[in-house]
Subunit: 387 residues, 2 copies
């Protein structure tokens, strides 16, 4: 186990009807907020009205900025920054999934900063202060509701980059599984793949003697793999949704990686796909992760054997190490397919013509990952394995 | 899964040499602190010198109050309150195990309060403000380093009571597994039993559909059961100590109970033993918990079957439910015995003469527990099962 710090001050408010508490929580921080959200579905489902009523009932004034899209754009972030400055707003309420929350975090970082907020995503520069944010989560996936990170896409490029700082933890995040009932199937599947990937990025590490973190990670993967198919079968299964939503939060709140050098190469490799092809992040991960596993497992085969055994119950009797590892990867691919996700680039309509460009962007003069350090050349090989 | 909140703002700094960071962390909060600790062992091991040097190097002044004993006393708390008031101290640095930390929390609650700090432990009254505290942990056991609670013994009685509030979370807790190398065997065993009990109090609940919390709890129990015997064999096994110390923290930071009605009857029943017989809390739990399990398992047998299967790998083939449950309890008792702990009151030199008094104190006009509501009469039966 390597030395670590663990810090996560976000207050999680979880359960039925909890989104009606948003006004009460928000008023602890501000009397006027930016209400930030995505598209029409928030209004169609009634969540928008419930949130607005709760704010009004508690005397919280708000200015609205909707229109966040998946792979959230820098241009909308800059619009949000202008609104907050003009209106003297000091708190941002994000109502939506990871894209809305990440966009809110970027706005919060940009308002008190004199330069271009993109500096925090494209250079080593870190925010010294930020506005506070609160969250009403509607899509279990990105884990941004209690993470220290934000990922933004700069349309000029296009480039998809992240920024992480303790200042980004939301003050509170409200998680009501009932708000997931109306999610479209592709959001559920891609979100589920994202959650699983967040755990796997932390799990496949070069470190040994990480027994508790291993077992906690396996516990979270087991809970997700068991419950995600249940919500696809019955989108009003509260108990299964509660497991998926809570697992999505724990998967990315930092706990599961303690004591390990987390990997995150698959995320870097996928971000380039999303930036160019605008594929949903989770859908991209379902393609990239198995290809990455096939390419890197020889660096630490014992971890991939443990994954196969403990997460997918692969019976090792009479099998070689490679057979066990491959069976684990096959079961992961089968799980993704069962969610209706593509597991090859071909199925997603992506060919090989941008492999070199994407690999250069992902690891031009540096390397990605920790279980195996990947150069741009390695990354091209992984894209090829994913074809 | 029932509605819940999850909030834990304590910053954990974990790993080798980290206790030398205490001055740097402390100076973020105060220039003068109360340095609170237990007995001579802190000086003999060199930890005292290392902490004092770190404080001095960072220009942090301090006043000392040592002498905390297991089952920390109200009288010492009151002495600490007087010192802080007299010296104008606004931050308490606890260097020790759960007793020192709990004593520090009580002092922190008492300083700004005009009444008797025992009010917070003996009535419904809650602190409205508190001093901040920081921790250097030397004994993995109580989990008080990142919990919201404190347990104090009032010698007039004697009464052992707890107080819980969000204000009690330490600002930081430094966990260096190397500081555990010099722990006496009885501290290791009793501490281990306390850690396991903290998980079991959360695990044995009447709720169904708590899949993630179940699996996370089982993961933590597995990690502890595997690693605790290793540190008893080799008290300088860093990797095993790291697992035990990190498990002790996660066991009691609140996470593992989310979505369930936690039970805590065994703690209540044990507190009366400690108050009268001054037995170490963890040693008392090793006696009470198996007796409690035997008495209450018929209320929710499915949870006790799951415990036997998933935590102690009991093979269920060809066995009745009762046989599986009993085998799980036997394996738990064998685990405690393997740590060198007594699993009956008789072995601990305690007879039946105070059963009625203790039961009345534990549940005079109310009930204890959630998986089965226990009256004073039930508690006498549990003490009898523990004889």
């Amino acid at each position: 186990m390597i030395n670590f710090t663990w810090y996560n001050p976000t207050k999680i408010i979880f359960g039925k009807n909890t989104h009606n508490e948003v006004g009460n929580e928000t008023k602890k921080y501000a009397k006027k907020v930016l209400l930030h959200y995505g598209g029409k579905s928030l209004k169609a489902t009634g969540t928008y009205d419930a949130v607005v009523n709760s704010l009004k009932n508690e005397g919280v004034d708000f200015v609205e900025l909707g229109g966040v899209r998946p792979n959230p754009r820098l241009s909308l972030v800059q619009e949000g920054i202008e609104i907050c400055r003009r209106e003297g707003i000091e708190f941002i309420l994000a109502v939506g999934g990871g894209s809305v929350i990440d966009s809110a975090k970027a706005i919060a970082a940009g308002v008190p900063y004199e330069g271009n907020v993109w500096d925090f995503y494209s250079t080593e520069k870190q925010p010294e202060k930020m506005l506070s944010i609160g969250v009403v989560l509607t899509i279990p996936a990105a884990g941004s509701e209690s993470s220290d990170g934000s990922v933004i896409t700069n349309e000029e490029g296009p480039d998809k980059r992240s920024c992480c700082t303790d200042l980004m933890y939301p003050k509170f995040a409200i998680l009501n599984p009932e708000l997931c009932y109306t999610l479209p199937v592709n959001h559920i599947s891609a979100g589920g793949a994202d959650i699983l990937a967040h755990i796997m990025e932390r799990y496949f590490a070069p470190n040994s003697n990480t027994d508790l973190s291993d077992r906690l990670s396996e516990a979270a993967m087991k809970a997700l793999i068991y419950n995600l198919p249940k919500v696809l079968k019955d989108n009003k299964d509260y108990d299964a949704w509660a497991e998926v939503m809570w697992t999505g939060c724990v998967a990315h709140n930092g706990l599961l990686g303690r004591g390990r050098q987390e990997d995150w190469a698959s995320h870097g490799i996928e971000h380039e796909l999303s930036a160019i092809y605008d594929i949903a992040h989770g859908a991209g991960l379902a393609i990239i992760f198995p290809a990455w596993m096939k390419y890197v497992n020889d660096a630490h085969p014992e971890r991939f054997v443990q994954f196969a055994q403990r997460v997918f119950d692969v019976d090792t009797q009479g099998k070689t190490e490679d057979e066990v590892i491959n069976e684990g990867i096959e079961k992961l691919e089968a799980f993704f397919k069962g969610l209706g996700l593509a597991t090859t680039l071909h199925e997603a309509g992506i060919d090989d013509k941008s492999f070199e460009v994407m690999a250069q962007k992902a690891a031009g003069n540096w390397t990605l990952g920790s279980i195996k350090k990947l150069t741009a050349k390695d990354i091209v090989s992984i894209y090829k394995k994913a074809l």
